[in-house]
Amino acid sequence: MSKTQKIFIGFSLVMLLTTLFFGMVSSFAFLYPELYNKFLPFYQLRPMHVSAALFWIISGAVACILSLSKDTFKSRETGTSKAFIVVWIASIITVFIFYSFRKFGGREYWEFPPVLCIPILAAWLLLMLSYFKQWQKRERKTPLYVWMWTTGIVFFLFTFVEQNLYQIPWFRETFLRELTVQWKSNGAMVGAWNQMIYGSSLLLMVKISGDQQIARSRKAFFFYFLGLTNLMFNWGHHIYNVPTASWIRGVSYGISMTEWLFFINIIHGFRTRLSEQNKFRHLLTYRFLTASEYWVFANLCLALMMSIPAINRYTHGTHITVAHAMGTTIGINTMILLATIGYILKIDEATSRQKEYIRKGTSIANLSLILFWLSLIVAGILKGYRTVALQINNFQEMMAPVMKVLHVFSFAGVFLLIGLGMVALQFLKILLQNEGPEQPPLLNWQSIKAEAKQKIEEKKTTSI
């Protein structure tokens, strides 16, 4: 691993720690605003938490691609990718400087002044330049994970530009147009980073099992196209209650129902995965992947419910939306990213003390995430029921029982910080210790075995 890549992985992990810290502080600022309003108000803390989370996921996803693509494309690190890392990190640090002076101006998730989108865009273009230079060296029968990385990188650019179209006055001619385009791009952007992250997860499964077919089968490609279709057309659930043209709601509702196929596939493959889990459960990297699979199942159930407009009427604008957002970003994206970074850092070769810390941290994180996620769902059900069914118009009165549940959420958040913090700090420690020359990934047991067998066969033939 090169020095710049090490810095980039380290930066991503620092972003994760920043997310956790600001997440915990802002949850208390939400409960007790009178204590925070003077010095560190919620409206300042929330963008720090949300942007840090966004940058952790995107930086982590790209850091994994940059490290893994070197092996995949058999290429070296380019100057352009180093330039990307420098501009990207500098832009994000600038964003946080602006936040600390309470300088906003953007919109949800991207609350910094829009001018800062220029260096972020420049950095992404540098990344694309470097990636596509390497992409030309791909093998003829390109494995699916390469397609997924490419899709994610290209669609991130598209959605990021679309996210900023509101700078053109035509898009602000009506409030509904602006809102529709904003949430169209936000929704599709999630799909874009999922493609990058799931791509790395697929490569990891290939490396662990040694089965190349996983990334080349027809079934895998079918689900890739299904995911891509959902990325493109299934963002409408964000704006079901906005009085836009009805066909937007119809298209999104129809496409979202294809997600049942993912659901059926998970149930169908459950037994196979269970036996796989038993086989590889000694591997820490695999533990993260297993956790992410359970979270995929739980969040898919939630997403399917929320995609039905009649149900969405109750869940929209409630904490169920937050449960879905946090369940996917922490339970799925973070777990996969930790698995991939762990693989790159070779955590399965770490000292037993370090591994024990990571194991404990993962357990604390997953247990507290269950409580965290469930408390948000309960808070959401209460808010939805009191707003839609009981039609309580007084906000304080409507929120009174919801606030009680949110105390449980904040309590679980503290343990989430401890659990994921333990993992991230151990990863950083391993990253700093990791100075040796590059070695072939040791997790690829099957291919190592196959190579050894082949060598013995070759020796036998030459001796004959």
Partner: protein, 130 residues
Amino acid sequence: MKKILLILCIGFAIYSLAVYKYGSTTKSSPTPAITKGWNIWQEKNCQSCHQLYGLGGYMGPDLTNVASEKGTAYMKGIIKSGTTRMPDFHLKEQEIKDVIAFLSWVDQSGSSKVSDTSVHWTGTYTIEAP
């Protein structure tokens, strides 16, 4: 593989253009005061605590229809001095007027609540734009 990808991308491009052009049918361009109010809304990061059409933060109430439900005087009072949960942003008189103009404009775009009668047996619903 490439063919399917191409068809999907073309479909996505056409769909995106259709959403931009025909996604919303209301026509009510913002005045300079509304645009100023909109910018203040973003600069003060109001969306981190408040929602418009259920999108935004969870700290305070949804403000989509606050103008018609509570009136201008109420909005002015809250923005001017804040509450125990909302800090005072020390906005100037004109800035407060601009924010109110923006919220009143949002209010005219529709209702954030979907009525029972709009729900169809298929699970979807139709909302009439004002």
